[in-house]
């Protein structure tokens, strides 16, 4: 958005956002860390030292290797001889994918509800906002657990594994939409009163088109900020669900699943199976949160 505007003036390097970014060591540091995670996860099939899902490549003689002992398995191995570093790279892939998909789902639902509520006003607004109020007081993880439980009861047990990924994305997304709806509604109320909307109405442009091509671009700034911060929360939600055993099946382990599996070996001394995925999860969420905090401050005109 601001990048496109700046390019006409002489490149994104001149934009305020870029200036603020390069002058904040925390922002640069967390961006680099996030990038490392995204690259490590995205390129896992090509750069991971082992393929943790190829049973033929696993050797039980390699099981429970200590970390930092050999170059072949830098972070040690689990009970099946799986390389922890590779498992973490693949796990981050699943965590990021589920987190991003859930946030995308929450954004679509929340933005649509917010636009409709803000533009329509009246009882539609009242009803939609009451629903979001009720849902906001209800913790998202409980909401996600309930959705997961209900879907689990509706769908035959043998099909659970196949649809579990979508169920989790739906459960997390549906528990996180109200924040987006509220912020978009607020901005829409402001934008609706502006002259360009009146002009569009006067020349007879339809409501849907006004909402999507006129108002929507002007309310997306805060959505970006909340979206970044929600990504961190969604990744934690997914990890929590997977840890509780109602998340993704062990055939598709996310960081949360890896931590749960490792938890079983905590008392027999193999701490690294759970601690390293845990540290990866913490670093990933911390980087995303710091980036979101920075973005919130940088896009807030009052703080300039």
């Amino acid at each position: 958005m601001s990048g496109a505007v700046a390019s006409r003036r002489g490149g994104w390097r001149d934009s305020d956002l870029w200036y603020s970014f390069t002058h904040s060591p925390v922002a640069v540091g967390s961006a680099v860390l996030s990038l490392v995670f995204v690259l490590g996860a995205g390129l896992a099939p090509w750069i991971a030292p082992h393929d943790p899902f190829n049973i033929a490549s696993l050797d039980l003689l390699d099981s429970f290797r200590h970390p930092f002992a050999s170059w072949a398995f830098p972070l040690g191995t689990d009970e099946q001889g799986r390389d922890m570093l590779s498992a973490i790279m693949y796990g981050t892939r699943v965590s990021l994918l589920v987190g991003a998909a859930s946030v995308a789902f929450a954004v679509i639902v929340g933005v649509a509800v917010g636009l409709i509520a803000g533009y329509a006003g009246g009882w539609v607004d009242g009803l939609l906002m009451r629903i979001s109020d009720v849902q906001l007081t209800f913790p998202s993880i409980l909401m996600a657990l309930l959705v997961d439980g209900v879907v689990g009861a509706l769908v035959p047990r043998d099909q659970h594994a196949a649809i579990q990924l979508y169920v989790i994305v739906f459960a997390i997304g549906i528990s996180r939409w109200p924040q987006f709806a509220r912020i978009v509604r607020g901005s829409t109320l402001v934008e609706r009163g502006k002259d360009y909307v009146a002009a569009a109405q006067v020349i007879g442009i339809g409501r849907v088109r006004i909402l999507i091509s006129h108002i929507l671009p002007n309310v997306l700034g805060p959505v970006l900020v909340i979206g970044t911060l929600t990504l961190g929360l969604a990744i934690l939600d997914e990890a929590t669900l997977s840890f509780l055993g109602v998340g993704l099946p062990p055939t598709q382990p996310s960081l949360g699943t890896l931590i749960r599996i490792g938890d079983d070996f905590l008392f027999s001394g193999q701490w690294w199976i759970t601690v390293f995925p845990g540290l990866a999860l913490m670093a990933l969420v911390l980087a995303i949160n710091l980036l979101g905090d920075w973005l919130r401050d940088a896009l807030n005109p009052r703080l300039r």
Binding site: R130, F138, L145, V150, G232, T240, G245, L266, M282
Partner: protein, 327 residues
């Protein structure tokens, strides 16, 4: 005052009704309780008898009224998983969850507020910065990971504290308490820290931010000019005026406490409602889930009501509306 309370209660009714409808729909339309309870071998007559016994042959609205009526009398039906009354399952596990949540919130308030006040007053000191960085890491750590790391350090490596269960409990009527035995007290330490840490960091950050705001105001400067002792200024004048948002957050976070007690109870195998709920979700045990939803809904409405009443007690400006003057 009474008008205020009544209007709040009236506002809560639609919310409770909505929660009731969702709980009832789950209870009635999800899954096949009859098939699950009968098992493989049954006659048509047995089946009809069970359908009738469960009231599944009545019209939906009658079933709904029946469900709510029964729920008001503490009857939430039978668990599919263990074939026991849900109310009985809850009664057995309620003390464990309440004791854990109570200890965790006391910990969060008793530690969080002083840390926040300290970090607000001496905000450039090294210790304050350590608190702030620590709280940022605390927010990024999921609850279950905090629990696992605490178990790793204090149970596995050091062997100081137990890693699961409530220890020995003492029965006081139907209530069981772990507060009266040494092993019960030792058992609650790690779960309470795990559950309370997020609240603690949140309260600390909030108190700090509010203290920074309040300490800039004129009446604090005036109190300083009058030569009041620092202790009296900080705690008597400043902290008191930070309490409204702090009470809101503590109140709203009690809901979060319930949510994350599910996680904490799983990590520590704490025999409470949360563990029951997660076992029910895994087994698609709908009556327990529906009853839990109802119960949590009621708890939330009650918490919101208490928070509103506390506002009223803490902030005299809210009382001006009815003609009285603030102190």
């Amino acid at each position: 005052m009474i008008v205020f309370v009544i209007s709040r209660l009236l506002q809560a009714i639609p919310v409770l009704l909505a929660v009731g409808v969702v709980a009832f729909s789950m209870f009635t339309y999800v899954g096949d309780p009859v098939g699950a309870m009968l098992g493989q071998d049954y006659t048509e007559a047995q089946r009809d008898a069970l359908v009738h016994k469960l009231g599944l042959d009545q019209p939906a609205w009658e079933q709904f009224l029946h469900y709510i009526w029964a729920a008001l009398h503490g009857n939430f039906g039978y668990s599919y998983r263990v074939a026991e009354p849900v109310a009985h399952l809850f009664a057995v596990r309620l003390p464990a969850t309440l004791e854990l949540s109570f200890t965790a919130s006391v910990l969060a308030v008793v530690v969080g507020i002083p840390l926040g006040v300290y970090a607000g007053i001496w905000r450039r000191s090294l210790l304050s910065r350590v608190f702030m960085v620590g709280s940022l890491i605390g927010v990024s750590l999921p609850t279950f990971l905090i629990g696992i790391l605490l178990i790793l350090v204090f149970s596995v490596e050091l062997g100081w504290l137990p890693s699961f269960g409530r220890g020995h409990v003492v029965a006081l009527g139907w209530w069981t308490t772990g507060f009266l035995t040494w092993s019960g007290l030792r058992s609650i330490i790690l779960p309470a820290i795990t559950l309370g840490l997020f609240q603690l960091t949140l309260i600390m950050r909030l108190v700090r931010a509010e203290m920074l705001e309040v300490l800039r105001t004129d009446y604090i400067k005036f109190a300083r000019a009058r030569g009041l002792r620092a202790r009296s200024i900080h705690f008597g004048h400043a902290l008191r005026n930070t309490l409204v948002p702090v009470i809101t957050i503590i109140g709203l976070q009690l809901g979060g406490l319930i949510a994350y007690s599910v996680v904490t109870e799983t990590v520590f195998q704490w025999p409470g409602m949360g563990l029951l709920f997660i076992q029910s979700v895994a087994a698609a045990d709908i009556p327990v889930m529906a009853a839990y939803l109802l119960l949590v809904g009621v708890v939330f409405v009650v918490i919101n009501l208490i928070v509103d009443l506390l506002y009223y007690a803490v902030d005299p400006r809210l009382r001006i509306g009815r003609g009285g003057r603030g102190r």
